[in-house]
Symmetry: C2
Subunit: 341 residues, 2 copies
């Protein structure tokens, strides 16, 4: 049997309430001497307040729920870790604990939404891995549970989101190449449907601005498994074009690494023969040969910002919903140069 408030009270010879006051740090309401006695007993008995009981009286749980997609299909581990660190630091700074709920397949049936609804948490952060969440989002809204969606733009009047501006990311990449003089830019697009779309828009916008015609042949879209192998294969498609591109924009560093590999096999040098640009700035990007120019996605900041927004809603539910973007930045290393000839 676990130690309860009552056990402590009895042992210390005081009432439940007094112990409660001590536990909750209401030191001005209890005599110094009594407080010390109670604290000693708490220490000695190893008392920890029962979360459920406290919760039942309507107290804040001081914990945030984070819903993650199944880890195996998660977007880059690195991004996810960065984001989690941001969430963790920001929540910790406000004295909040975190519960990470990892979805499994049952997510579709709404079981995970329950985890946010059953009063274990003060608010939720939902990392969307596509569209899964949409099925149950109205329930959260109806129950007025504060939540923020990360990494996906869900345009609903009562829904908050923070997302990285993928459009801007690929715009930056393409613009960089155009500035270097490239006119024929291959694009290996990938990831979630929404991201694919946004990335494509960024690509197109940069091209448009420079008055370059978009050649659909230059765009390879991969809808899953965006790892080295994907890049390796997609590079092949691009290189076999009648008029191959002088540069390749990718949608992940891993893809770029796969591209590197294929290029090397074909005897093409980066960046002399062909420029390559990554996406994510994962730790190994800088150690590639040549060091990979890439787009850094501030996932840490994404996490921090999401927590900030969520906290605002926890403290005051009647806010206007927040839709925020975080801009990626270009990390210029050595894999891009002027086009050959």
């Amino acid at each position: 049997m676990r130690i309860t408030l009552n056990d402590v009270a009895k042992r210390a010879g005081v009432s439940r309430n007094t112990v409660s006051l001590v536990v909750n740090g209401k030191y001005d309401k209890v005599k110094e001497e009594t407080r010390e006695r109670v604290e000693d007993v708490i220490q000695e008995m190893g008392y920890v307040p029962n979360f459920a009981a406290r919760q039942l009286t309507g107290k804040r749980t001081k914990t945030l729920g984070v819903i993650l997609p199944p880890l195996r299909n998660a977007f880059s581990f690195y991004n996810m870790s960065e984001m989690s660190s941001g969430i963790s630091d920001a929540a910790g700074a406000q004295g909040y604990n975190l519960m990470f709920f990892v979805c499994n397949e049952r997510f579709k049936q709404g079981l995970n939404i329950r985890l946010l609804k059953d009063s274990r948490i003060d608010g939720g952060l939902i990392l969307d891995n596509g569209r899964l969440v949409i099925h149950n989002i109205e329930e959260l809204e109806r129950d007025e549970i504060p939540f923020v969606i990360l990494n996906y733009r869900l345009e609903r009047p009562k829904t908050n989101y923070v997302a990285i501006d993928k459009e801007h990311g690929s715009y930056l990449a393409v613009k960089h190449l155009i500035d270097l003089g490239h006119r024929r830019i291959g694009f290996i697009n990938g990831s979630l449907p929404q991201h694919i779309e946004e990335r494509f828009y960024g690509y197109r916008r940069a091209l448009d601005e420079a008055g370059i015609n978009l050649d659909p042949e230059c765009v390879v879209t991969v809808t899953e498994g965006w790892v080295e192998k994907t890049g390796y294969e997609a590079a092949d498609m691009l290189l076999e074009l009648p008029q191959p591109p002088t540069s390749i924009v990718t949608s992940s560093d891993l893809i770029a690494i796969g591209v590197y590999k294929r290029l090397k096999e074909k005897g093409l040098r980066v960046p002399e023969d062909i420029s390559v640009i990554g996406y994510d700035d994962i730790p190994i990007a800088r150690y590639q040969d040549p060091p990979l120019t890439t787009i850094r996605q501030p996932y840490y900041d994404l996490g921090v910002k999401a927590v900030d927004i969520l906290m605002r809603f926890i403290k005051n539910r009647d806010q206007k919903s927040v839709h925020e973007s975080i801009k990626p930045i270009l990390v210029n290393r050595a894999s891009c140069s002027y086009p050959p000839r």
Copy 2:
């Protein structure tokens, strides 16, 4: 105000108990017709049982707590993700949810142990990142909270752990090189104190078995930041030895990649001039040039096994404590060969 059992009961014109029975799937105790009516109302009102209230009555929470070290200092993201996937799959298979608690600095003061003690979870999985946990472990034992420590061998009569056998891992690596004919084997050791020790033992054992004298100069130990840079620098130290090794055993793939880099700069070919062996088998290992021979650590299995053990203890507390090892395996790719000359 959130919907309660009572609200549902009133609306459905039945008693609390009936609704409770339906919610808990005790279908044999309630008439089909009533059940359907109640289920409709639940659906309609979006009722979700209050976790705290249910918990208060002593029910299993059907959730496991996972304590993770601060993500930023975590060991390889990849390993951690693998492990989390294992945990997640195994827990999910038994209908259990997961709460990941990410430690922050306050961990030392025992605040995170509270998360395991406050009855939110049925049991805990603690990923140790060194020694942090030790301070509070007695409290968990005293309260008879089922828990398992992952990745660290904490030898206590009432404590369970599952750890990957690092000793065996480096033994395998060194043995592999010895079998190829190497006699002078550099060793870049790293990670947590306990792991460093175990790895060293494995290294020594393989050497002993082959009757090779251990030359302390060949062992470089790095106590933090085991990333590419570390490998790059450690490689330097080894190469500058009067009699440089013909092969290098590392303690992470990232280190091995750093080693590759330095070797290439020095014009040394892998494996013709020098053999290199990694540790972890992270996804990019196979895409290195040459593909990296490495030691695969079954972190996924570690997670699964930990959950299995924990479940046993949840179901029956009076078990003998379990100390288990998981053996890494050698993944033979192309970075090791016969020594030169």
